[in-house]
Symmetry: none
Subunit: 425 residues, 2 copies
């Protein structure tokens, strides 16, 4: 069964708001096993909306519309859908009563145009709205359906979960539909083409499918299966995820949907009872900021330092004057001293230092823009690494922070794999 | 001239990611005076993408596509667009060289599938990508155009602003005998409805138009005129910008396109020969990171500290144990001591401290999630302010950083307006 999402609203076309409803509905529909091939955004315009509905009805079984059910003249989703299906509007006493109660309970006066919201196309099923005045509607004609939902997320989401999802489940169950189940294998420290060159065979699979998505410093491999029920779909996904984990080993930092790279690092610190401090130059606090975006980080995060100038590198981290003079601020030697200095100062078990040239100025032939050194101190041992990133200043800094999280993760894992005496006391 | 936005990617159809590119592009197109009636999302599927392109070309002059330009088998936007226009693909030596250089500079090996990214439809204009390997493309046929952009926002945005926006400006100017000229009045420290209530009369204007765009902690008012030539359009925009400056006074931090709030603060520091340090708790380095994203900040930025724990607040900034015990870490007293302590430690002329509850845990009835205190020290004087932000952890932290930049700006301006003996020696 094929659904199509149609979002109605000129504010979306002008870019005043981001279409989070579409992403939310898309995820819910995929979980219900519905296929979705198109999403469309169209403004509050009767002719263009009608054309969009007619096109959608030709290629999909169910159109899910959101927005345009309000009381104002602009709002004409219901009127247009009713016209396309040739089902005239009539007053629905049940909805009118609910709207009147809604206003009475809030102690507000109901205006004349709110009555418009109780008008319902002939034969449509009414879905009560517990969080607003516009009821949802399900219109049916010749086996095709249009589901009309209010635009505000706090009305749309509970209505979809409470009424529309059960309706769709029943509908697809009847028609022997299928369930889609996905799992994402998240890989850090590898480029997209390098990852892909190792999975060309798996990309040929048709069920489950394997699809790569590149992020800065990460590649996510999404494994998706379609089956009669979720249990079977999970069973199909499992061996592929296992195979990917075997191929990429410790480069896989998680297979959980809600775990980010920074969360995996914080979890690793928590699990090993390690504290952390950061000392940053070109990244200017971005590494600390990403770690601190994880709730609960307070148990592991000791201090963050931003030593942008040479003076600050000496003063905060105790980088030697001679090191800066001989090797420069952007060097493996300085990165190492920064990491050790921050550990000494903050008494953290793990520290990470970043020093580099983010540009656009400051690059030379020998030390070009994008050259970054990082030091990672783990319980007395310091490793240093050189990186070369490309892009503008913001891109270089973001790339550096992703690489820093990856390096921190790898150094901690290596520290424990090399030790024979187990975890920190 | 009518544009249509087409986003390509199965990950959008599955709801794995939110379509922020569409909102961003929509806003830019609106600002350029282009009409946009439809946005479509379609998956990585050749037939459906081709059908979407054909439909789009019937009803719009320019299709702006994003996504599907990567090196993998999934990526077929270019191939499909070339097929629809009947323009066969050929190797572009210039793009190939750029991709080779990209990999060489990173010290990475280029895989065979990256070569695919240098294939270009016959007659297409190539737009260099400074932040990735996929070049942008402009295809033209029978007066219709398809503009192909890479999907990653950090590649799409600079490419659009640097190359596509100027191209579209020239195109619309040429073909309608009219030029569109815009100037943006950027306001900090005011909410959207508060700003809008003061410009209801100006919002009625039809040429030039005044349109508000809300950002976190800022409101931008875009004044746009359409005229026969740029000189005339500028003349029309000027008095409206002047009027807005008069109404909002020092809340207007710039009218320059490329000046951000953080750049205006760095410029203010440079102009007054002031140095700056930051000390952050809940914002965890984001304030320093925004300042350090401005090239040339090294002349003014002394040190940044992230004192997330109480211990770090005491150790780094010398906040008194009794202050923390009596008033708590989130209090005006702690914020003030943090600002003064950072000034003492780093010897900066200006410091800003942030301490607050970003959530989701840690809030109480008395001190709810979103409560933030900031201290701003300017050459010996410290001011403290209380803020209440709403939203999730990330939103609260971003709001705090914007408010911190606004507060720093206001405190510096007030310091100089109250002084009679001029600038710092």
């Amino acid at each position: 069964m094929v659904v199509e999402l149609i979002s109605v609203g000129t504010e979306l076309l002008l870019g005043n708001i981001v279409n989070t409803n579409a992403a939310w509905l898309a995820e819910k529909c995929a979980a219900l096993g519905l296929s979705c091939y198109y999403q469309t955004v169209v403004g509050d315009n009767r002719d263009r909306l009608a054309a969009t509905l007619r096109t959608g009805l030709e290629r999909s079984d169910i159109l899910i519309l959101s927005g345009g059910l309000g009381p104002t003249q602009d709002d004409l989703t219901k009127e247009t859908a009713a016209e396309v299906f040739g089902q005239p509007l009539g007053m629905d006493p049940h909805s009118l009563e609910r709207i009147e109660t809604f206003f009475a309970e809030k102690g507000l006066e109901m205006t004349e145009n709110n009555k418009k919201q109780a008008l319902v196309p002939q034969g449509a099923a009414v879905v009560d709205n517990d969080n607003g005045t516009a009821p949802g509607l399900i219109l049916t004609k010749d086996g095709k359906r249009m589901i009309l939902l209010p635009g505000p997320p706090n009305e749309l989401k509970p209505m979809f979960e409470g009424s529309i999802a059960p309706f769709l489940t029943k509908l697809t169950g009847k028609e022997e539909g299928a369930v889609i189940y996905s799992k994402t294998v998240k890989i850090c420290g590898q480029g997209e083409s390098s990852v892909e060159s190792r999975i060309t065979d798996l990309e040929q699979l048709s069920n489950p499918t394997v699809a790569p998505y590149a992020k800065i410093g990460e590649v996510h491999l999404r494994v998706t299966a379609r089956a009669a029920d979720e249990k079977e779909a999970r069973k199909m996904v499992k061996p592929v995820v296992k195979e990917l984990k075997a191929r990429f080993g410790s480069l896989v930092y998680t297979t959980e949907e809600d775990v980010t790279l920074e969360k995996s690092v914080v979890d690793l610190l928590l699990a090993n009872n390690l504290t952390v401090s950061t000392i940053e130059s070109c990244s200017g606090g971005l590494l600390a900021a990403r770690l601190i975006n994880i709730p609960g980080v307070s148990e592991v995060f000791k201090s963050g330092y931003i030593s942008y100038s040479n003076k600050a590198k000496r003063k905060i981290a105790g980088v030697k004057k001679s090191t800066l003079a001989k090797y420069g601020a952007v060097s493996s030697q300085t990165a190492g001293e920064m990491a050790r200095g921050a550990a000494l100062l903050s008494k953290a078990d793990v520290t990470l230092s970043i020093t580099g040239i983010a540009g656009p100025e400051g690059g030379t032939a020998e030390k070009p823009v994008g050259l970054v050194y990082m030091g990672c101190y783990v319980c007395g041992t310091t490793r240093v690494k050189e990186f070369r990133f490309s892009g503008n200043r913001a891109k270089i800094r973001e790339s550096a922070v992703s690489a820093a999280l990856t390096m921190m993760r790898q150094c901690i894992l290596e520290y424990y794999s090399e030790k024979t005496f187990g975890k920190k006391e």
